[in-house]
């Protein structure tokens, strides 16, 4: 899977070796494990199930995303990631087919070696498919880093992420290749984007 670059000449368009396995856990309705190089995320989906009255939405399903870091408790960083993953999944799912129901997506970080948010997005998409939930579009996550020499590196490792001057994660829709979600850190010029 190679990415098309438009302006800057990238040093490396090749992504790290990636692997995916579905239906690995017995209890969740859908589960998937997604590995990008050494970064590995395990996802489990429960739903459609009963929803708490204070959380129910009358015409659509309520999606809840939980990201558990490898070590420690959930922090503000995980909450920001949960918001990104949740809104992307809500746009992809046909939630109006399951009103007054809850869908729970749990992502467990098994190892973080860079590109964590995109690995979470990919694992989430595979798990939602494995659960058989109706989706209007499929999406994939990809992370790019711009290093000090203004070279674009796709799918950076943790070391490359630390040294780069800008880090961007995008969720791209499979059909029209449009951007569904974007989360960036660091400054970059308009052309680089």
């Amino acid at each position: 899977m190679k990415m098309e670059q438009s302006v800057c000449e990238p040093v490396c368009t090749v992504l790290r070796e990636y692997a995916c396995e579905q239906n690995i856990l017995s209890k969740p309705d859908g589960s998937a494990s997604f590995k990008q190089g050494d970064t590995s995320v395990l996802a489990g989906v429960y739903g459609p199930a009963e929803v708490k009255v204070n959380k129910e939405i009358y015409d659509r399903a309520t999606l809840e995303v939980v990201i558990q870091p490898k070590v420690g408790m959930q922090s503000v960083r995980e909450r920001a990631r949960e918001q990104c993953v949740r809104e992307t999944c809500e746009a992809a799912l046909l939630s109006t087919l399951h009103p007054r129901s809850s869908l729970t997506l749990v992502l467990q970080v098994v190892h973080d070696d860079g590109s964590l948010l995109s690995c979470c997005l990919n694992a989430a998409c595979m798990a939602l498919m494995d659960a058989g939930l109706p989706m209007s579009r499929l999406f994939c996550g990809v992370t790019c880093a711009i290093d000090a020499e203004s070279q674009i590196i796709t799918d950076p490792t943790a070391q490359q992420e630390k040294e780069c001057r800008a880090l961007m994660t995008f969720a791209i829709d499979a059909k029209d290749r449009n951007v569904m979600m974007s989360s960036t850190r660091g400054s970059f010029s308009v052309e680089e984007e």
Binding site: E87, A91, A166, S182, T184, R185
Partner: protein, 277 residues
Amino acid sequence: MAAGFKTAEPLEYHRSFLKENCRPDGRELGEFRLTTLNIGSINTADGSALVKIGNTTVICGIKAELAAPSTDAPDKGYIVPNVDLPPLCSSRFRPGPPGEQAQAASQFIADVIDGSKIIKKEELCIEKSKLCWVLYCDIICLDYDGNLLDACVITLLAALKNIQLPTVTINKETDLADVDIQHKRHLHINKQPVASTFAVFDDTVIIVDPTAEEESLASSLITAVTDEDDQICAFHKPGGTPLSAEKLQDCITRAVMRHREIDRLIDKVIESTKPSK
């Protein structure tokens, strides 16, 4: 009669305005609400600013404290932002620990501070490995009417321009810090990031500066933060419907224009507070 239609079918109500290229409050699609800024209103804080974008009111207070720098960055100080959405600002926020929106906003502001290098953390260091400043930036929303992130970034920037830190010297004999309140200095601001938020309706229409109702009906929200060199410090689109590259480019162009307006506003307010000091 219009009020009945608005309550029963809010999306159709807004669509009927968008078809005529305007919005229920009379604005154009690309028009921001009136932005007002007040600096230095909190005397007990070292720096403060209050911004109002339409009805959305956000206040930022910065307190500076002394601390030891961390071992892996001995020549850098800390800036700790915290965004609080109390139940006062809107009925959608309940009392208790910060909800997801507040935490995501705090993380966003922390990323903007790091990414745009608004101030050099080395400037906050007093003595390497011994003493540094910690700036606790508390951003509190007093009235939530949409477009929270724009207001937070403007108020943070204005408060950082307003803050005055006393000079600190380390007494060689006692090894204790000597704080001189009489001599204060401003911080050197490297970059001035300004945020612009857009809401997307029905995957096609993009409007600028959404109110709270428009935000709840939009299919996607985009926040673009630009600095004065037209570099993008953050491009935040937390999910939602897919958008093509041209539409994203339009958003960035509009954000650059907005940056100039806000720059002029902040400079004007800072100038006006100078003679009274």
